[in-house]
């Protein structure tokens, strides 16, 4: 097996775990959003590592496409979350 592939995949696992942990434990909204994004990046790293075929062979393009989609979905969700947080803050100020 390819050491590179394995190295990146394993780091991906670690990042997923880190993200999940903070997502579950953090109380701060912002950090939860960050945590979920980090977790996503971990998953993306696993996918890209799976796609990797070494220096000579061309990688599997499908996971690349999936990750691209994933990145855009993630940014949309983040945007909505931040907008909600902003509205919430405004409401709380009114009270």
């Amino acid at each position: 097996m390819l050491t590179t592939q394995l190295l990146y995949a394993l780091s991906g696992c670690v990042i997923v775990a880190l993200g999940l942990r903070s997502a579950l434990l953090h109380s701060s909204l912002l950090q939860r959003v960050l945590a979920i994004n980090v977790m996503g990046s971990g998953v993306f790293m696993i996918l890209l590592a799976v796609a990797y075929r070494g220096a000579e062979v061309a990688p599997d393009p499908v996971p690349h496409a999936l990750v691209l989609t994933g990145i855009v979905v993630a940014v949309s969700a983040t945007a909505l979350a931040l907008a909600l947080a902003r509205r919430l803050a405004a409401e709380q100020d009114d009270d």
């Binding site: 097996m1 590179t4 990146y8 995949a9 394993l10 780091s11 696992c13 670690v14 990042i15 997923v16 775990a17 880190l18 993200g19 999940l20 942990r21 434990l25 109380s27 701060s28 909204l29 912002l30 950090q31 959003v33 960050l34 994004n37 980090v38 990046s41 993306f44 790293m45 696993i46 890209l48 590592a49 796609a51 075929r53 061309a58 990688p59 599997d60 393009p61 499908v62 690349h64 496409a65 999936l66 990750v67 691209l68 989609t69 990145i71 855009v72 979905v73 940014v75 949309s76 969700a77 945007a79 909505l80 931040l82 907008a83 909600l84 947080a85 902003r86 803050a89 709380q92 100020d93």
Partner: protein, 323 residues
């Protein structure tokens, strides 16, 4: 570079990525975590490039690090202005200290176990030769796809349906943001230097976007990278204190936002009408149809991201609330 030095490079890269992630999540100060998160994104882009995923690397740099970062910083800006904000605690029930430590540790252990489990399973997988069926299928059908960049082929032809729904997700997000109320107040008009900077920076960004869109057919790039770059132009204008930030009036803005999904549907329905499958491009037309869709998508993505950054419909633009 020989393999050992590459291995060292990989090692350093991954160590820095993991530690950046850790730092971003661990830091108490919201601002610092955001900055670290953006750094994390940029280094990730390097990693993607290293894994021979240049399209993803571009997208990560532009969207993952760039625009997410911009959004987060804007949120922080609100946070500074309002007492409670994104940084503040959202959980109502404050549990006792003893309990929290127990929870902390159990969650940590759980996540550690998950990491080990994932790693173990993946090691198992990598023992076997990789399953290349799909990759080969893509390669074989690439000529029929109308583009030579396999990633673009997957995104806009083989799995175009994913991309259609993905654009729907973007649209949903921006509509949700609009529903939450008016945009932020704009920034103060910038000083001469920055203003002058924008005068040439914006055109460059627009040109880059156009280039990325065009090149996507055969080389790394495409609608998303291009859209993000275009959005960057908008962000710059916004920071320069321009209120209109290149966004059109409500009705037109809505058209642009809907353009991505709309073009997809038009092409899809048209093909259905001609008796082909939904989004089943005729090989001869595939290239141009894809470019058409990508152009619309780029505009929609850019408009969406800028609107998200502004946090609603720009002041000058008010949703026409009929009667």
């Amino acid at each position: 570079m020989n393999s050992t030095s590459l291995l060292v490079f990989d090692g350093l890269l991954l160590v820095s990525i993991v530690s950046l992630a850790w730092a971003a999540l661990a830091s108490i100060d919201a601002r610092r975590s955001v900055i670290l998160f953006m750094a994390f994104g940029l280094v990730l882009a390097l990693a993607w490039a290293r894994l021979r995923a240049p399209d993803v690397a571009l997208a990560e740099a532009a969207i993952g690090a760039g625009l997410s970062g911009a959004l987060l910083l804007a949120a922080l800006h609100d946070h500074d202005r309002t007492a409670a904000g994104v940084g503040s605690s959202s959980t109502q029930n404050q549990t006792s200290a003893g309990l929290t430590t127990v929870i902390r540790w159990s969650v940590t252990l759980l996540c550690a176990a998950l990491a080990v489990g994932l790693g173990w399973a993946l090691v198992h997988v990598f023992d076997h030769p990789a399953n290349d069926a799909l990759a080969r299928a893509v390669a074989e059908n690439l000529d029929l796809s109308g583009v030579s960049n396999p990633v673009t082929a997957v995104l806009l032809n083989f799995r175009a349906y994913d991309t259609l729904l993905e654009l729907a997700v973007l649209l949903t997000a921006v509509l949700g943001i609009f529903a939450l109320g008016p945009a932020r107040a704009g920034y103060q008009p910038a000083g001469l230097i920055f203003d002058g900077l924008t005068r040439w920076l914006v055109p460059v960004l627009i040109l880059t976007a156009a280039y990325l869109l065009w090149v996507g057919a055969h080389a790394p790039g495409g609608a998303f990278q291009a859209g993000a770059t275009l959005a960057a132009a908008g962000v710059v204008l916004r920071l320069a204190g321009r209120h209109q930030i290149g966004l059109p009036a409500a009705r037109t803005l809505h058209i642009v936002l809907a353009a991505g999904v709309g073009m997809f549907l038009l092409v899809g329905f048209a093909l259905l009408a001609t008796g082909r499958a939904f989004l089943g491009y005729p090989p001869a037309w595939a290239g141009s149809l894809i470019l058409l869709i990508e152009t619309a998508a780029m505009l929609a993505i850019a408009a969406t991201l800028v609107s998200a950054f502004v946090g609603g419909q720009p002041e000058s633009v008010t949703i026409d609330n009929e009667e």
